[in-house]
Subunit: 451 residues, 2 copies
């Protein structure tokens, strides 16, 4: 699928020093973000129309092409400063696909929104525009308004008085759009809306109501901040446990926002998170309460940073399979050292084999918990019909939060008992769930004895 | 894909009390084995022609149908005792597929052999017979001989003097076989070979040389034992580690052969293996050498039984996803208890935190080793290009063998040191391998900093 992105704007109101397509949003320029979002939604080849500050944008795209290994064609709009209908028309010679994704570089959106649009397809029409009938943009005077009736676009424009939804800036279109733009041009209208209006008059322009994912038309610093907060808010994962969801993400997201503006990589964060756990292990060996509390704080910080590496990877498209691997393995070692350290400290307060046994049960339960989580997710991948898969998840976030609580309250043994119980009970719960779930899929017969 | 199985034989030479199709081979009757092997190779629907002791075979198949949820049609050949050409013809009304798998109930074979035949397809001919040009059957006077030239069957028959391969008893055929059998019948030949000969004369019968997997035509008790040993020999897995391959399988296979004749299930074996590890843990807590050595022996026995559950499942088609799951989780707990027990015993001989630390490192290394093995196999599934994936695998078999050796030699601490080193080094080796492997797949660019 080809994708045409209009990146000709100046962005005066954004007030930055760089042209608008290069304005960074959490470490990634708007244009790069648009390209990579489209790639996530299935685009494999890109045509970018640049206008204002064309040389700077071209130079950036040259670098991006090499860095990301992208199929990318750059067209410079001459003279710059024309309306976006001109921009689209100037790309005509490069586009003869029956099916084209058309985006604006300054519209930030969730990949899922684009995936839904691409999944919907042209559906027999010449143009499908993703529109939003729910969210009211920050500054709605500047967002294009749309009047939709019976799934068809009736009217479109910024000044529209009678309207029922907003233009998200994401289009699917057939080559008929170019003819429509020609016709609008002949009538003196050089905007993209002009072309859409021509198709709408013929009853060939449909609208798709977006159901999932956010979008922001970024024109002002306020809208840029809004886009930032929506992006950060989209970083939670469906497999997040309760501590992760209600505590850790609230701290890790701001950290991620800070780190995103630097060149720090997710793997570096993974390693730092692991090193913090090692330092905590060392502190646990000290008999003082202060060392214990400090170790607990470091354990929790390590747990929070364990969210940051993934957030950073998703936010800046920096995720690699090896990175995910490294993170998983370092997490397991970190878990081991933290629980061993806590056990040592608990043993200082209450020497004896029973303390060590409890530590061992917490450690083994934690390991098997993680191990079974992987098996569990694999078996149930994509099947949300199985009860209890996501609502309630006792995992690493809960475990390290208990380490933290046990340390700062000076009750390491109680924390270990709780961890040992929770982790092992969760393993048994998963076994029972899986047995119920799989017995519904597999025939009851098990070979049995021969006659 | 439909599969026709001829199960009309009496099996006088086999000497058992049951009719030949019901003669048990490692706990599974020959006919059930043929059906389930064909199902593994892709057959979804079965037509079975029964003859001798038709009532008993029909009753068995009725039970099997319910027990295994199979699409199964049973035809009784009347009068029984006819040659196998008759048997095939009697199924004609039930078979109008362009493509049919035809098997003999008394030919035992590896699923991979059938998969290769099915994968090959008819290839434009009316019949393809899987033939073996390498293996000499035990009693070759009774096995059908085939003369193949240029991929085409030239002659086929038991008494053939001039031949170059043997008939494995697995055919793919088109409905043209029925016409050919009619023609042979008109000439007074009621054998399946007669029909094949008619097709061969027209140049419509091909032969496929089998490259993988065993097969045995079971007519005598000696051939039944041969089939048993081939089946047991096929139970090793490509992921087997060195101890598993060269030590454990040699003991677990005979145990599996014994258990296969009973109604013991793989899950029961998994639980017993786990309980043995728990008993070993208890013995480790005793300070005497005798208890230590006994614990070591139990650990090794537990490791051997850990092979048996999977062998039994594969041998008798008793494997379930839940069973695999249960086994994995019990194995993790067993590992934990065995290493904790060994650590306790080592601490009796050499008290101090350093012993406990070594025990912890052995335990953590073992857990992460298993955890990373799962990730490793998942990432590299089906890609044998990555070096070092199977040749050398340090896993559970090695770990428990070291526990055993450490215990019987009275050197538990040395065993723990070795386990700690080997397990953690293997994790690092996998990380390095994955890094090298994945860097070849993923683009080098990782987002980097914005301009």
């Amino acid at each position: 699928m080809k994708c045409l992105i209009i990146a000709a704007g100046q962005g005066t109101r954004l007030g930055g020093e760089v042209p608008k397509p290069l304005a960074p949003l959490l470490g990634v320029p708007l244009l790069e973000r648009a390209i990579l979002t489209a790639e996530e939604a299935g685009a494999t080849s890109f045509v970018i129309v640049v206008g204002y500050a064309g040389d700077a944008v071209c130079a950036f795209l040259d670098g991006l092409k090499r860095r990301r290994v992208l199929d990318l064609t750059v067209l410079a709009l001459a003279p710059p400063g024309k309306e976006n209908g001109w921009s689209v028309l100037s790309a005509r010679a490069h586009l003869d696909e029956p099916f084209l994704l058309l985006l604006m570089a300054d519209h930030v959106m969730a990949p899922v929104l684009l995936r839904d649009l691409v999944g919907h397809g042209l559906d027999g029409s010449d143009l499908v525009l993703a529109v939003d009938r729910n969210k009211r943009p920050l500054e709605d005077t500047d967002v294009t308004r749309v009047l939709v009736h019976g799934g068809l676009i009736q009217a479109i424009g910024k000044g529209l008085d009678h309207f029922n939804c907003y233009d998200t800036g994401a289009f699917l279109c057939s080559p008929a759009l170019f003819g429509a733009l020609d016709q609008a041009l002949a009538q003196g209208d050089t905007s993209l809306c002009g072309g859409v209006r021509v198709l709408a008059e013929r009853g060939r322009a449909k609208a798709l109501y977006v159901e999932r994912g956010f979008w922001v038309d970024v024109d002002t610093p306020m809208e840029l901040r809004k886009a930032e907060s929506l992006l950060l808010g989209s970083l939670t994962k469906p497999t997040d446990g309760p501590v992760s969801r209600y505590v850790n993400r609230r701290i890790s997201c701001p950290i991620t926002a800070l780190l995103a503006r630097t060149s720090v990589t997710p793997n570096q964060v993974s390693v730092v998170s692991f090193l913090l756990a090692l330092v905590a292990f060392g502190l646990f060996l000290h008999p003082s309460y202060r060392a214990l509390a400090a170790a607990g704080l470091l354990a929790q910080l390590s747990s929070i940073l364990d969210g940051t590496d993934g957030e950073l990877a998703r936010l800046k498209w920096m995720g690699t399979k090896f990175g995910g691997w490294l993170d998983s393995i370092l997490d397991r070692y970190a878990d081991g050292f933290l629980l061993a350290g806590l056990t040592y400290h608990a043993h200082l307060g209450r020497p004896g084999w029973s303390t060590l046994l409890i530590g061992f049960l917490a450690l083994a339960g934690s390991f098997v918990n993680t191990y079974s989580a992987g098996l569990f997710d694999q078996t149930l991948r994509g099947d949300s019909a199985c009860p209890g898969t996501s609502r309630f998840r006792i995992g690493r976030d809960v475990r390290l939060f208990l380490v933290f609580l046990g340390a700062v309250t000076g009750l390491p043994l109680i924390a270990l008992v709780l961890i040992a119980i929770l982790m092992n009970v969760e393993v048994v719960r998963r076994l029972v769930l899986m047995r119920t779930y799989l017995s519904g899929l597999e025939p009851a017969g098990t070979g049995g004895s021969p006659p």
